[in-house]
Symmetry: C2
Subunit: 412 residues, 2 copies
C-alpha cells in the first residue's frame, strides 16, 4: 500500500514550481480571474493527453507541437474563451506562448498553452500583451489558489490537491495538481483541463507511458453531460528536483510514483464530477466481477451518464430499474454479460441498501434508500458475479434543473 500525506500548495507544492492567476479582461463584464501561469525554475520532462474530439481548439495543436520534445517549463492558460473555431486561433495561441516565453526568459517551445470557454469567438491578443507580463511579475510559490481560480469557467469551486510520498531510498517526492471541469465533461479523454506538477526525477518517456492507463480510470471515468470538449488537456511536468535517482525503467520507484499519481488524478477527477454544472452530488459507480475491463468500465460509465439515473439520484429516488436499463445499453459490453446475475446496492455515508438481486427488485425500505441517496456523495455498487472478477468505476453527478439554466444562457 502506498503511504502518502495530503499537503498544501497544489501545483506549487513540488520543488521548483510557482504559479499565479489574474483577471486580464478576457472574461468581459466581470473581474474574475481569467489567466493562469504555472512555471518551473528549470526545464521539466513533460507529457500530455489531448481531446479526442476531431474538432480541436488552436491551443491543443500548438501545445502538441511544443511537447514533441518531451520538455516544458511553463503553462499559460486562459478561461472565458476556448480559442476554437476561429480564423486567428493558431496565431493567438502562439502569441500567448511567445509573450509568456519573453516575460519568463525561456524558450517559446517550452511553453504549453491551454484555453477554456466559449467556442467560436475570436480571442484578442490585447489582454495578453499587458496581462502576461503582469502575471509573470506576480508569479509566486503561494500562487496555486489564484491559478486554480483563474482556470475556472462555471466551476463553483477551485479543484486542487497535493500529496507527499517516499521512494524506496527515503527520498521525499511531491505531486500536486489543479483542474477545471464543470460542463462538457464526458471524457475520452477527460473533457477538462488538468495540470499536474511533480519534483520527481523521471524520464519524459515514462511520463508519456503512464498517463493513458491512469487517465482511463480517473478523468476518463468522469461524465457530467456526455459532451466532449474541443479543448481537453491533461499535462504533467516533472522538475526532477526531489533528488531521487532518476527513474528511467519501470522499477519499484516507478510503481510508487504511479500509485501517487493515481491518488492525485483520482482526487481531481472526483472533484470534477462533484462540481458538474448544477450538480448537488457526486455519483460513483463501482462494477465488480465483470467479464472484462471494457464491460466493467462501460457499464459504470453508462450508469453515471444516464440522464434518467442522474435525475432520479438528484431527487433521492431509488429508481433502480433505470440503473439496470443503463447497464443494458452500455456500449461494447461482453456477450456473456448476464443481467439475471446482477446485484445492485446503493450506498453513502448513511449506510447501504440492496435494491436488486439477480437482476430483479428486492423489497427495501424506501425511507432508508431516500436517506442514503440524500447524501452529497452517493455510491452505486454493481456486482455481476462473473468468474473473471474484473472491476471498473466511473464518476458522475446528478442532473438538476440548474444544469439546464446554466447552459441555456451560457454565452449571454
Amino acid at each position: 500500500m502506498l503511504e502518502y500525506n495530503i499537503i498544501e500548495g497544489g501545483v506549487c507544492a513540488a520543488e521548483g514550481f510557482s504559479a499565479g492567476g489574474l483577471h486580464v479582461g478576457i472574461k468581459a463584464g466581470s473581474n474574475k480571474k481569467d489567466l493562469a501561469v504555472i512555471y518551473c525554475e528549470n526545464k521539466c520532462n513533460a507529457a500530455a493527453l489531448f481531446t479526442q474530439n476531431k474538432v480541436k481548439a488552436a491551443p491543443i495543436k500548438v501545445s502538441k507541437a511544443h511537447l514533441a520534445d518531451g520538455k516544458a517549463q511553463a503553462i499559460i492558460v486562459n478561461s472565458g474563451n476556448a480559442n476554437a473555431c476561429t480564423a486567428n486561433g493558431i496565431e493567438i495561441a502562439e502569441k500567448m506562448c511567445e509573450l509568456s516565453a519573453k516575460s519568463l526568459g525561456i524558450s517559446c517551445e517550452d511553453v504549453i498553452v491551454a484555453s477554456t470557454g466559449v467556442i467560436g469567438q475570436e480571442l484578442a491578443i490585447a489582454p495578453f500583451e499587458k496581462g502576461i507580463p503582469a502575471l509573470v511579475a506576480n508569479l509566486n510559490k503561494a500562487g496555486n489558489d489564484d491559478a486554480a481560480q483563474a482556470i475556472m469557467t462555471t466551476d463553483t469551486f477551485p479543484k486542487q490537491v497535493a500529496i507527499e510520498f517516499e521512494l524506496s531510498d527515503g527520498t521525499k517526492c511531491k505531486i500536486g495538481g489543479i483542474a477545471k471541469g464543470s460542463g462538457m465533461i464526458n471524457p475520452n479523454m477527460a473533457t477538462m483541463l488538468a495540470f499536474i506538477t511533480t519534483d520527481i526525477d523521471i524520464s519524459a518517456e515514462l511520463l508519456e507511458w503512464i498517463l493513458p492507463p491512469l487517465n482511463s480510470h480517473t478523468f476518463n471515468a468522469v461524465s457530467v453531460d456526455g459532451d466532449t470538449s474541443t479543448n481537453d488537456m491533461l499535462c504533467i511536468m516533472a522538475s526532477g528536483l526531489a533528488g531521487n535517482k532518476k527513474i528511467v525503467v519501470r522499477n519499484e520507484d516507478y510503481g510508487q510514483f504511479a500509485g501517487a499519481l493515481n491518488v492525485v488524478m483520482t482526487d481531481l477527477a472526483r472533484k470534477m464530477a462533484r462540481d458538474g454544472e448544477g450538480a448537488t452530488k457526486l455519483i460513483e459507480c463501482y462494477v465488480e466481477n465483470a467479464p472484462d475491463d471494457k464491460t466493467a468500465n462501460s457499464i459504470a460509465k453508462s450508469v453515471v451518464s444516464s440522464s434518467l439515473v442522474k435525475a432520479a439520484i438528484g431527487a433521492a429516488d431509488a429508481n433502480w430499474g433505470r440503473i439496470l436499463c443503463a447497464m443494458g445499453y452500455a456500449a461494447d459490453i461482453a456477450d456473456d454479460f448476464d443481467v439475471s446475475k446482477a446485484d445492485v446496492k446503493l450506498g453513502s455515508a448513511k449506510g447501504e441498501v440492496i435494491v436488486c438481486r439477480n437482476g430483479m427488485g428486492v423489497p427495501f425500505s424506501e425511507k432508508e434508500a431516500t436517506a442514503i441517496l440524500s447524501e452529497e456523495e452517493v455510491q452505486i455498487y454493481i456486482d455481476l458475479h462473473h468468474p473473471a472478477n474484473v472491476c471498473g468505476r466511473a464518476f458522475g453527478c446528478d442532473l438538476t434543473e440548474e444544469y439546464v439554466r446554466i447552459n441555456a444562457d451560457y454565452r449571454s
Copy 2:
C-alpha cells in the same frame, strides 16, 4: 415521387383493423387510460423490431417468440408498468396474451404484447382479468384515439397518423400508426413503442426486410435523452385486405409501399422527438455532402443528442460552437471528415441564417438568429462539402428544466 393523402383513423384506417383503449387500473391513482388493443379481423403477416438493450423486458421476449412465424392478429399494450426486471414478468406477459386471445377468439401465439412504464415493479394480473374482456367488448373502428392515448406515459399528446396511396394498378392502400415516446428515447432501436397497420397484401419476409433500413433514419434517428429503454418495439401488421396483387418480390409496388411506410414512420418519429419530456421544440439536424452514411447519421445524431446544444436551442441561443463540438465527438466518423470545410445554417419557419462557414464563425444578426430559434420547429443544416455527397438526418428536442422535474419524481 410518391403521392399520398393524409387520412383519419390512425391504426384503424386500414381495412380490417379496429382498436380500443381503457383505464383498467395499472396507472394507480389516476383514471388515465392504460390498456390498448389493436385487432385485425383476419390473421396478418407481421414483423417487428425490438430494443437492442441487453436488458429486455418480458413482453419483448414473449412477442419475439409469438412473431417467429411471421403472423399476428392482435396487439395488447399496457402503460404505467414496463413489466421488466421482475420475477413474474414472463408469466404476466403470457397471461396478457392468453386473456386477449380468449376474449378475441384467436390463437394466443397470434397476440403481440408490449408494456411501457416503470421498470422493476411487479405487474399484477388482476387488472387484466377484468380489463381485457372489457377492452375487447369495446373494440371499434373509431377506437384509434383511445388506443393512442392508452399507450402514453409522460407523452403530452397522442401520436398517430394514417395515409392513403395507390399502387401501380390503381389499388388504394392505407397505412396508419400510433406511437409513444417522450423520455428514454435514444434509439438503436427507437426506444419507443410504435404500432403500424396496413391493408396491403405483402409477405412477412418483405415486412421483416423493410423495417431495419426505414427504422434507421426514422425512429433510430430520434434522440431525446440518450437512454435506450428495455421495452422498445416497432411492430407492423398487414391485413392484405386492400385487394392488391400480393407483393412477394421487390417490385414497383414494393417501392411504393416502402415510400408510404417511410412517410408514416417519419411522421411518428418527428412527433416523438417533438414530444420529448419537457421539450418545447423539435430540433431536426440535416447533414449534407458527408463522406459516408455512418458519418452523416452519426454527426446528425450527435448534434441533436448534445445536452449543450439542446439547452442552447431551448433558450434560442445560436451557440453554434457547441454544434461544431458535437460534430467533432460523433462516434465512428470517417477519417476524412474535415471540420474546416463545414458550414452550419440554422433555420425555421422564420427564415435561415448561416452561422459558420469553413468551420469558423461568420458574422450574423443575433436578433435574427434568436427569432429563428424561437420557433417550435428548428432545423440545423450542416454541409460537409465532401464529394461523396452522402446525407443523413436526426430528430431531437430541446433540454429544459421541465425534463429534470419530470424525471426527478417519475416513480412517485
